[in-house]
Symmetry: C2
Subunit: 406 residues, 2 copies
């Protein structure tokens, strides 16, 4: 399969990069400098202005240290290895950087593409996939060696018969050691099966115009892509791939009025609560509720602004919402039993992201322009801690290593 | 509240016990002996015959070491601290033992009761609760110091007006820093709210005759107790405690015929898949399927023997079933889409327990009389490893630290 020709030059490049930042943890005396500790209550916070990350402890609610050298971290994301020791940071500059959470040192960094928007780690923990805008495509690396395993260019055929590269968005891992992702210009969803030595690519064509982001349900069954070019969403039921991609929620999108959209929502933040799914309306100050049995729209909840991240507390009793500029100075909490907004919080200026502790007792919220992270008790809404950080954005805790699609 | 008088003598006892086995990890040179590693892919396997546990690595699929000194581990269970560094082992002899997974050493052990059947760690990670048969009741300890925080005797009033102590079963943690448990002889369910310095006890009376075990749904909403003395189950909706305890699944139990029951099933193994719940029939070679929206019985699936553990693969696409003596030499796999048995495996003699890796790619199964653990690929059913262990029973992986009720 020509799609899978390894790129030797890139292999060399990554090997060199590894030499330059050879694993600190491998040095015998490394353990002397670091504290022996469990990694279950660690996390990283992206500090976009300085290209650094803050290593945090969710038990003590403290920043352990700041680590630099990650390149351009505007719009960066993070995945954790299955042992929860390392974090892979996907940078906007195409950098793929591996951080050792125990030594606090970068033990691997390569520039794998021109413009990366995120990635995923395979179910078995062996592979890390990166989705790229420039050049469009997905590259899969070995988590241990960071060597290129496979390069999948996002080549698609245009109406005029010529071919081009598409931007890759919405890269997720699903059970069966499969990666799923969407091709923006192509309007296609592809799955890459890494379960055998002969990776297998499956393409779903004409899924809709310009998929801009996607999500996977917590059980890894439904892959749902939002469409920028039209209303509605594209749904792939991975339990029944033979049914192909279906269109759901025809009302979902900007609608006839073509409302001004300050920022397209992140679908990663999709929230499930029982058989209800909560998701951000596009261009409207609403959180929408769908019935996950037939994916019909059941409710529109009026909120403070245009929602960006809509996330469910692990016990599914609350949904927390962040908003687009210029109303991004508030966070609202919806009770999933009454579908009412029960709390409005002001954790700072330019709120970008939030993360629940694994069992949901606390939530961490980043406020970029306030240079701080606020930790709340999700039951009492009491502020438990305020931590300094350099223009903090994404917050990621290590329990994600053990969740499908996170 | 007289219920909450701390028992000074026990406090002293536990303090002494701690001195005898003072934390190895605290010694400055301890780190030199141990490998710096993440704790996300660690686990423990109970070795009941030798009162030891096997420390395992789910990435390498190996036993790292065997650790002794846990006392009587027949019917033992394990909970992990929120940093996934320590395991608390609940022994049949009333022993509560804390194992440091990184040093491989016991760094705390107390005999807290006469006969413990399990426990739970609070949502905030601060408290470990132990349920006891002898004397009946729940004791809550500080996870760090292992000192007694609160002692809750399971005192109940008998029909003749006298009081007695009940055996405590089905201890779980739920959101809000609450422990929930059942009183066997009393037919009561109690909740213990540890969210404030003034712990609050709530009692639900007349829930049914002889609750013998209980489970909590993954979101922490429904606490469901099986009844030994009558058919049906007792359900407490923790989102609506004002509704009190309701009776569900009137068919659930031994029925009119009073079938011979070789072993009461473990309800901890309750499996959810979408809005279906799979659970072990009592005394029948059946796995029952209920609709979680109204808790009605929808299906009876014929299986190899009397089911003991019915567990859902994390992606909810399969349910794996172990069986009671004398048919405990097989494991069966049910496809949740077709409700058909798709595989029957023979991992050894006297199969006691099983555990999925966090994202479900593998399952570990313990066969006591074969002195081995078998690791399967859950997609191909291929045997990936066979590991030696001394009469292995319970298998517990560290990702449980991050799940409600596990």
């Amino acid at each position: 399969m020509p799609l899978f020709t390894p790129i030797k030059t890139l292999l060399t490049a990554s090997a060199v990069a590894l030499l330059l930042s050879s694993p600190a943890a491998a040095e015998p005396d490394a353990t002397a400098h670091v504290e022996l500790r469990g990694t279950g209550d660690l996390g990283v916070v992206i500090e976009r202005a300085t290209g650094s990350v803050a290593l945090v402890d969710t038990t003590e609610k403290t920043v352990l240290r700041h680590i630099e050298g990650f390149g351009d971290l505007s719009h960066a994301s993070v995945k954790f290895t299955r042992d929860a020791r390392h974090a892979f940071v996907f940078g906007r500059d195409g950098g793929l950087t591996r951080l050792d959470l125990l030594t606090g040192e970068i033990d691997g960094r390569i520039i794998q593409g021109g413009n990366s928007i995120g990635g995923a780690i395979s179910q078995d923990g062996r592979f890390v996939a990166v989705g790229n805008y420039e050049p469009g495509g997905v590259k899969v690396f070995d988590v241990e060696t960071m060597e290129l395993v496979i390069d999948v260019p996002a080549t698609y055929e245009k109406p005029d018969g010529t071919t081009d590269q598409a931007k890759v968005v919405g890269v997720v891992d699903v059970p069966g050691n499969i990666f799923v992702f969407s091709l923006f210009e192509a309007g296609e969803i592809w799955t890459l099966d890494m379960s055998t030595d002969e990776p297998e690519l499956t393409k779903y064509r004409d899924v809709g115009s310009m998929p801009y982001d996607a999500l996977i349900t917590p059980n890894g069954r439904y892959y749902i892509a939002g469409l920028f070019g039209e209303d509605g969403m594209a749904l792939l039921d991975l339990w029944h791939p033979e049914n192909g991609v279906q269109r759901i929620l025809p009302d979902y999108g900007r609608g006839e009025e073509r409302l001004p959209v300050y920022k397209m929502p992140h679908l990663e933040g999709w929230a499930m609560a029982g058989d209800q799914a909560f998701f951000p309306a596009v261009g409207r100050n609403e959180v929408l509720v769908a019935n996950t049995r037939d994916w019909s729209l059941t409710e529109r909840i009026e909120v403070h602004g245009q929602p960006i991240f809509v996330m469910s507390r692990p016990d599914e009793q609350q949904v927390w919402v962040t908003f687009a500029h210029p109303l991004n100075d508030k966070v609202q909490v919806i009770d999933t039993r009454t579908l009412e907004v029960i709390e409005t919080l002001s954790p700072g200026e330019s709120i970008l992201h939030k993360e629940f502790t694994p069992r949901g007792e606390h939530i961490w919220i980043s406020a970029r322009d306030s240079n701080q992270i606020t930790v709340y008790d999700t039951r009492t809404f009491e502020v438990l801690a305020t931590l300094p950080a350099e223009s903090p954005s994404g917050i990621f805790f290590t329990h994600r290593a053990h969740r499908i699609g996170l």
